[in-house]
Symmetry: C2
Subunit: 418 residues, 2 copies
């Protein structure tokens, strides 16, 4: 499959881009090659696609069902009650809706943790994007449950091969207060042996810190360090409560982080991700939306604006986390974390690509495309999406979207009545 994008703006210059099987073979002002598919790039900018570093895709079904509530009541009275009733079919349509929403917002790579692993994997394969999918691993310190989860994860790991190249299996140990030491140690070993990424909530709330101190006499990060589970395969999400000593441990092991600002503000978790300290420690991080029960929008550009502005405000320094850096973190740094290689539009690289419609008021005067992407627009400006060498959205149209929206709406409304 060849794609030729004609007359598109790349870093401000009009150019043609020729792509074969997902790899960019030519970037030049006038490409003479013929192609299976030609896209008119006039009035659009070409950019590498965005990554959503932390979400629970199928929670789109809960969007707007329970907002503005205290955390405990929200979880116990609303979210967990619905989750107990979820079927694989619900999760499939919820995850399809999430994939649809992410594609519309220029996201082709996402990092997921949820129930009914295979339903999410099917949704990702059918949506033709890249999902790093983990099953929620919770054993509540019960050895029997732990053994069940381990067996289940072994099966899913084997099963995941049949969902390649769309799906990559990852481990999803929920958090240090829901997973036993023994299970974490098993994941540590299996992850090292099979080179599997680990996706975990880390240092999200004060109560997590309190639990960790009371149970292990250590901060969550120091406890994980004591288990030897921190490595370049480990990605900790949220990180609001991280202290300098935690960051030193994470940096020493090459671990990575995901900043999830919108969810942290909405759930009022008391502290914000310490951008300045994380940067000083040299820890690579990207951005995540969280699931739709606590955000409620899978628009990573919106999340990036929140992150950049909070970094400035919290350090009383308007030069912090500037637009270009923010954009690069959501693209190249994210690609490094998920091992996707060079994620820029240049010959020999194989990034997914988005075309952004510049004929919108917020792109006037368009002095700086990175500033406009991070500060002035949102995901609705994404016009065309190319993932793994295939055009999956063109002129904002995604084949089958009406059915996905109808089926997901049906599943959600049925779920609350069940």
């Amino acid at each position: 499959m060849n794609i030729l994008i004609k007359n598109v703006l790349l870093d401000g210059a009009k150019t043609d881009i020729f792509i074969e099987n997902g790899t960019i073979l030519e970037v030049s002002p006038a490409c003479a090659r013929s192609a299976d598919k030609i896209i008119d790039g006039h009035g659009k900018a070409a950019l590498p696609s965005l990554t959503n570093g932390h979400t629970h895709a199928a929670m789109t079904l809960f969007r707007g069902f329970a907002d503005d509530m205290p955390l405990k009541a929200w979880l116990e009275e609303k979210i967990w009650v619905l989750e107990a009733k979820l079927t694989a079919d619900d999760v499939y349509w919820g995850a399809r809706l999430a994939c649809l929403e992410m594609i519309k917002n220029g996201i082709t790579v996402f990092n997921d943790m949820y129930w009914h692993w295979e339903a999410t994997a099917r949704a990702v394969r059918d949506a033709k994007i890249r999902g790093f999918i983990s099953a929620v691993f919770i054993d509540m310190f019960d050895n029997g449950k732990g053994r069940e989860q381990i067996a289940h994860n072994r099966e899913l790991y084997d099963l995941s091969k049949s969902y390649e190249p769309y799906v990559t299996f990852t481990f999803g140990p929920h958090a240090i207060y829901t997973v036993s030491r023994e299970s974490l140690e098993w994941m540590r070993d299996f992850s090292a042996e099979n080179d599997i990424l680990i996706h975990m909530h880390l240092a999200e709330t004060k109560s997590e810190s309190v639990f960790s101190q009371n149970t292990y006499g250590l901060s969550p990060t120091a406890f994980l360090d004591s288990l030897g589970i921190l490595s370049e395969r480990y990605t900790g999400c949220h990180g609001c409560m991280l202290e300098k000593s935690d960051l030193e441990l994470l940096a020493r092991h090459g671990a990575r982080l995901v900043h999830v600002p919108v969810s942290n503000l909405k759930l009022a978790v008391e502290r914000i991700f310490p951008h300045s300290l994380v940067q000083d420690a040299g820890i690579p991080y990207c951005f995540g939306t969280d699931g739709c029960a606590s955000n409620n929008h899978l628009d990573i550009l919106e999340t990036m604006k929140f992150a950049s502005l909070l970094a400035k405000f919290c350090s009383s320094d308007p030069t912090m986390l500037p637009a270009r850096q923010t954009f690069d973190m959501a693209t190249q740094t994210a690609a490094d974390i998920f091992r996707l290689g060079r994620w820029s539009i240049e010959v020999g690289a194989s990034p997914d690509i988005i075309l952004v419609d510049l004929k919108r008021p917020e792109f006037i005067p368009n002095f700086d495309i990175y500033s406009d992407m991070v500060y002035a627009t949102n995901g609705s400006a994404v016009n065309t999406v190319i993932c793994m060498g295939e055009v999956i959205m063109e002129d904002r149209i995604i084949p089958g979207e009406e059915e996905i929206m109808a089926r997901a709406a049906e599943a959600a409304h049925d779920l609350v009545k069940r």
Copy 2:
């Protein structure tokens, strides 16, 4: 001019809405009246339009020109240098672009403060929306300049009559550190005699507080109180540094506030608008985007999400500033501040109306339209806008938009080269 909207969702129920000369005459499941203009509301929700409580419209021209800079260098080396070169024609096209962008984001009412008053007034009239327009009043404590500005404002007040009903003249004393006591006293009296609203930056930065203490021995608010300028005609914008004692003074006089969170974060002004204290003091407030040099997007729904989430986070209480309250503040409270009457979709009221496209992933499953508006979507979901009984945007198309974008882009690029 009659408009009939058929089969639109109003608070979840399918209904017809009949509007004559801007006033709603019928809201019923099956309206039998004929109309000059019939709009198919299928798959859309009807809502009152949004207000942008604080902006500098023509600063769209500076969007993306200077981000991520220290405040002083940003102002002195970038913004003021450009502003010194601005012509009335630049301001007209910049303000036209702002109006275009605001309409696309569902805003039909905005509160402006900028140079070249008449250019902005013309833009508002040509865009057919409602502008509360002030000329920036700065005299830098120079009596001669003060007298010039007073004469100029008298002229503009008279001139403003010819721009009715689109334009309402307001006073725009820039801030307590740029306007003399004598000029403020003149505005106080002229505003009272002629019932003119006053639009002012208030308690935005620490340096403003320091100036006020050093010069007047009072906080900015206490100084304004001592002049007798606080009243229900007074609207203070930003308010980041407001203390409880200031809020008591504002409340006692019935003054109003505008919360401008995105700009405050981006410029890293050190403190955030104290929502909880303002609410306790019973002071009505709405939301503002600020100008595009410091936001950079005139999307008030985005601003509302920032405001609601910051209120929760700053008070460690996820129940603060819930979605419905946030939405009502951007519509009815704003209409109260700008004296526009009942701003809800019911018989006898004359609100401007927006139709929002629900056939988008972020509106699935649509459990709560107010939650979806504030937390899940952005201005790009606005499909149709009716202002003063006239359809000014339909299916996201606004007549003349290509010319506006082209002329504004030309003005901006020419300005930086001049």
